[in-house]
């Protein structure tokens, strides 16, 4: 008998054994299934119904677990991990409040297509429906905010459900999946093996685009006079930034990157027009408004991008590439719908363009765009005695390398970060786009730093946002996660205040805050903290913070007191047409009353 045959027989035998594992508890099967998925890190919080699974994790000892301050924080940490690595983040909680606290994170993840697997404990199947202690209908609650969810009925379901959950979360259009595991399921015994293959007849994520549609897209592009590429977060999920760049450079077409897409195309590239929409650059909005062909890749074209839908890009013939067919034509009608994964579709377009004998001459269109760029540059005023928030972002932009990761909360600081930071690589901006979840930034930064310890991670936060998940400072201190938390502190829910200023006759209804001294709060948590008030202190303080974080292996909080009257511009008034943006602060010359 040859060695090859022997090896083959041995392998077959091993496979046979692998298919019929020993009896073990459902909880042990959970751990085994997680390990089979290569899970190295779990964010979570234990409690009654999930304790058997935690016990199995403890006895196994090979998966690192981070105790979070609050389950919402755990979900955002898992999102941060997922956004940096592209692999599903894992969060684990108990039943009832543990699971309900997750919901904001799940809703955030479904809106921004973040792969997440949430494992929740549940009361024993015998008690389900009885309003038992810490019982909630997790499957019912999470159905509208997950890509899929499971309520396991038997320990035999565990291996298959976990394997499916990871596959569904990470493939196609990524999203969160919940696996709800009743206590008797995790305690009960099973010899069910990990499935050799998944049986999901109702789930077939598309890949290649239809060749005829790709051909039609090429024809439209070739005959375009004023083409624009609008690229979203889907390009990042698809790892297609290189293809996007190659196509744009081949065509010499301007590229507009959505908020979720920032980093999918280098912002310092001559073809980049930055971000569109409500706080997008004037020239990006004008280019979209006046274009005649719009190539959309991996974007939902949501209301913050389109502004008033009826007046969005009135002359544009839209080519829409998306892996989720339901996004195509949902908001903006597409002349050429291409259902597919951005990477192969962009590759097919590149191949097509390479076969052209020449690239059309778009000089007049570029001339117009250059005029808009000169007319509507991003700008803000600096005052001598108070820090301009935009200046904080520009300082960070100068200090940090291209590899650094920025996370944000939601509001003015988020928009300033999007406008003034030069994102050049995918997965360097982690922000809550669709749901607009204040409090996202700090936990996301922790998850990001744990996923990529060698990279600098900075959370640009607001004073309002930070307070929503500030307990995670304890997590960062306990696990010595050296992140930099920069609070753009204007003692207000700044974006709300801005709207009140512009549209509610300056009635600041419940938008003015009295935040605690964040530097001292940080110190009390065991982190480093420093308050920064003077413009001239800022560069030194940022350098100190970046240095000390790594040197002391501790999070650093910089409480940066900024001009409370600074507002985000350009701005498209809500419900207005994108082309009619307010380019800069109309009150700029008026003294603040």
């Amino acid at each position: 008998m040859s060695t090859a045959t022997k090896t083959k027989e041995k392998e077959a035998k091993e496979r046979q054994q692998a298919r019929r594992p020993r009896k073990r508890s459902g909880a042990e099967a959970v751990v085994e299934a997680l390990k089979a998925q290569g899970v190295e890190l779990i964010f979570g919080m234990t409690g009654g119904a999930i304790m058997p699974v935690y016990d199995a994790l403890y006895r196994d000892g090979s998966i690192r677990h981070i105790i979070v301050g609050h389950e919402q924080g755990g979900a955002h940490m898992a999102e941060g991990y997922a956004k940096v690595t592209g692999r599903p983040g894992v969060v684990m909680t108990t039943s009832g409040p543990g699971a309900t606290n997750l919901t904001t994170g799940l809703a955030d993840a479904i809106m921004d297509s973040v792969p997440l697997v949430a494992i929740t404990g549940q009361v024993p199947t015998t008690l389900i429906g009885n309003d038992a202690f810490q019982e909630t209908d997790v499957r019912g609650i999470t159905t509208p905010i997950t890509k899929h969810n499971y309520l396991l009925k038997s320990p035999h379901d565990v291996p298959r459900a976990i394997a499916e959950a990871f596959y569904i979360a990470g493939s196609g259009r990524p999203g969160p999946v919940v696996v709800d595991i009743p206590k008797d399921v995790s305690v009960g015994a099973t010899d069910a093996s990990l499935p050799q293959r998944l049986e999901l007849p109702g789930y077939k994520p598309p890949y290649e685009g239809h060749p005829r549609q790709v051909q039609r897209a090429l024809e439209l592009l070739r005959n375009a006079e004023r083409p624009v590429i609008l690229a979203g977060g889907g390009v990042i999920h698809a790892e297609a930034a290189d293809e996007l760049r190659e196509l744009a450079e081949l065509l010499r077409v301007p590229v507009v990157s959505t908020l979720m897409g920032l980093g999918n195309f280098p912002r310092d590239h001559r073809l980049s027009l930055g971000m569109p929409g409500m706080h997008g650059t004037g020239y990006a909005n004008l280019a979209l408004h006046y274009c005649d062909v719009m190539l959309c890749v991996g974007t939902r074209l949501d209301d913050r991008i389109t502004g008033k839908l009826d007046e969005f890009a009135p002359q544009a013939r839209v080519i829409h590439i998306d892996i989720d067919a339901s996004e195509i034509g949902k908001n903006v009608p597409a002349v050429v719908p291409i259902v597919g994964h951005a990477k192969p579709v962009l590759k097919a377009l590149i191949e097509g363009v390479k076969r052209w004998d020449s690239i059309p001459d778009w000089t007049p269109w570029w001339g117009q765009i250059e005029r808009w760029k000169r007319e509507f540059p991003l700008r803000y005023r600096e005052k001598a005695d108070v820090i301009a928030p935009q200046r904080v972002i520009e300082e960070l932009d100068e200090l940090l390398d291209d590899d650094a990761i920025i996370t944000t909360g939601v509001g003015q600081h988020q928009m300033w970060a999007a406008q003034y930071y030069t994102f050049t690589r995918p997965r360097t901006l982690l922000t809550s786009g669709g749901l607009g979840t204040m409090g996202f930034g700090l936990p996301a930064a922790i998850g990001a730093k744990l996923a990529a310890p060698e990279r600098t991670v900075v959370c640009v936060d607001g004073d309002g946002s930070l307070l929503m998940t500030i307990q995670e400072l304890a997590t960062a201190v306990n696990y010595r996660v050296p992140i930099l938390e920069v609070v753009i502190n204007n003692c207000a829910l700044g974006m709300v205040k801005q709207w009140q200023h512009l549209f509610f006759e300056r009635r600041y209804a419940e938008s003015l805050l009295k935040p605690p001294p964040f530097d001292r709060v940080a110190q009390a948590f065991g982190a480093l903290g420093r308050r920064v008030e003077r413009p001239e202190e800022l560069p030194g303080a940022l350098k100190w913070a970046l240095r000390e974080a790594e040197a002391r292996r501790l999070p650093v909080v910089l409480d940066v007191i900024v001009d409370p009257d600074e507002r985000v511009f350009p701005m498209v008034p809500p419900g207005g047409a994108n082309a009619r943006f307010i380019p800069s602060d109309p009150q700029e010359l008026e003294p603040e009353g």
């Binding site: 159905t143 509208p144 899929h148 309520l151 293959r197 007849p201 109702g202 067919a325 908001n331």
Partner: protein, 193 residues
């Protein structure tokens, strides 16, 4: 979004849609929730097992214009539990609905009612001193017409199943997925144990 609730430029129609779904608990709630959440209007919904007990067939009659229908089909397709969707509005099909009608029938008017029942090839399935209960099946128009005619006598109670639909001809418009090779082996293996 304009048009999603039927206010768009396209005419509203009733679309019978068939969905083959996994026959598991929670699937109906998932689909009903989707319709509620996205503001889609359901006229009727009928659910039952298919020829393969692993799958159920849902026949949903949706009210809306073409744009709404496109979204309904796309959103249903996103659900992992939904195997296949067919919109029958353009496909030749047979449809049936079953109704039970309890009608006020004092002795003096029974004759007229029985005549109507015969014209519609319906059946009387229960009789009491003052009522008759009629079973009727047919397409939705026929059921509507019967109810319309019987109304003047006084309808005491009415139950309708909602439509069920199959494509005409030999073809299976919604082929239920066959167990994959690997799974068959596994099942055999389990059976041998």
């Amino acid at each position: 979004m304009p048009g999603l609730n039927g206010s768009g430029p396209h005419p509203e129609k009733l679309h019978p849609i068939a969905a083959i779904v996994r026959n598991e608990s929670g699937v109906l709630a998932r689909i009903a929730g989707l319709f509620a959440r996205r503001g889609f209007n359901i006229d009727s919904l009928a659910v039952g097992e298919t020829e393969d007990p692993r799958y159920s067939r849902m026949t949903i009659v949706v009210r809306g214009d073409d744009k709404v229908l496109e979204q309904v089909v796309k959103q249903l397709n996103r659900l992992i539990d939904v195997i296949r969707i067919t919109d029958f509005v353009e496909t030749p099909h047979v449809e049936r609905e079953l109704a039970l009608v309890k009608v006020h029938a004092p002795p003096g008017r029974r004759g007229e009612i029985i005549e109507l029942v015969e014209v519609f090839r319906a059946k009387i399935v229960d009789v009491s001193r003052r009522t008759l209960t009629v079973e009727l099946s047919g397409d939705a128009d026929k059921v509507d017409a019967f109810i319309d005619l019987i109304k003047p006598y006084g309808v005491v109670e009415l139950a309708r199943t909602g439509r069920i639909v199959l494509a005409r001809g030999r073809e299976r418009a919604l082929p239920v997925p066959q167990p994959a090779q690997g799974q068959k082996e596994e099942q055999e293996e389990v059976a041998q144990r």
